[in-house]
Amino acid sequence: MTEQDYQQTYQELVTMLQDLQLGWVIERVELSVPSDLSGYFDEAQRQAETASTQAVLTKPVAKMAQAQLLRLIEATERIVVDTTDMEGELVNFLAVQGERLNGPISLGFVADEDTVTVPTMIDVSPDRRQAATELRQFLQVLRQEVMAGVD
């Protein structure tokens, strides 16, 4: 796989997340550069400074694009799938507490400044859980394909 392949896939994921109002996930990934990537950036800069106009895509640059794509895949999985998992765990927790306290228990969130208490409630449908499980599997396949991409 070339740098262009990674960038194209990255852009596809970015578009998906933006369409779902999840641009903040991308921002988180792009704002933080892990220390193990700094070497790639240094190498990319060195190449840019020394390359001719017909620059050849070299391994360090492709690796940098690969690493960035892997980070976005991981962030997507953690934020989307983990959120569904957490909601699922909380639904189970409420069920257990309801049994213990002999009545249904609900859980919601509200802000001080809200004039009317209409809390955001926890609710996760079986369909959402199923979709999250499948999403995790597809993201894992994508991760494997991306990891196998650079020789």
Binding site: D5, L22, I79, D82, M86, G88, I105, F109, D112
Partner: protein
Amino acid sequence: VSINASLLQSIRLRLGRSISPSFGTSTHVGDLYEAYIFSLVIRAALNEGAVPELGGSLTFRDPDDQLTTDLLFRRSPGQIYATTQPYTHAVIEFEGKPPLEVHVGIKVIGRLKVQRECDIAVLYRDRAIACRAQRRIPKAAEVVMAIECKHIEDLDLDAASEFLGLTSDLRVKESWFFVASGDSAGVARMLANDRKEWHHQVVPGAPNNVNRLMYALQNGFKNFQAKH
């Protein structure tokens, strides 16, 4: 070989169906994470004996100290005495021990005399009641255990530095916990070197990490019971 287009299409479809309509922002996911960690504190207390069979109890109450089954948590940090919303706290009782309260997102005052946020705080119940009656902010010495919750994938060293500053200011009775959904070798090294209790990748998909935190919380309750 480029990425299979049908794989990306499958991801697109599942992504749309997996998104929670209520937790689509960074802040909202952070709130959810705090509630999730709160649930682990409750489970840890139940495991350590806050159950009728062992002479204990665990209930959920509103600011007027009335029992509630509609748990309501803050979207942003606030005062323990706030009555703007009927926020919930848990009341934990171990047989023959001082009762405790568990709060989410309250402010606490420390050595520097400034208000700091505790994502989750376990306090002595009599002190918490006094704080609500006197409309005052709890002091760190009135907090038994506190938890800093970080729903961040890429922890940076600033998070660890801030935590060290927080724990230096707020000297709680028993222990502080740094709990994160993500991980970082640098943060782990920094906190481990400072002998802090840290837990990374605490998410439902990592049961070993969840269990490790649960046992640490249970240990905190065990020590509390032993000392009282």
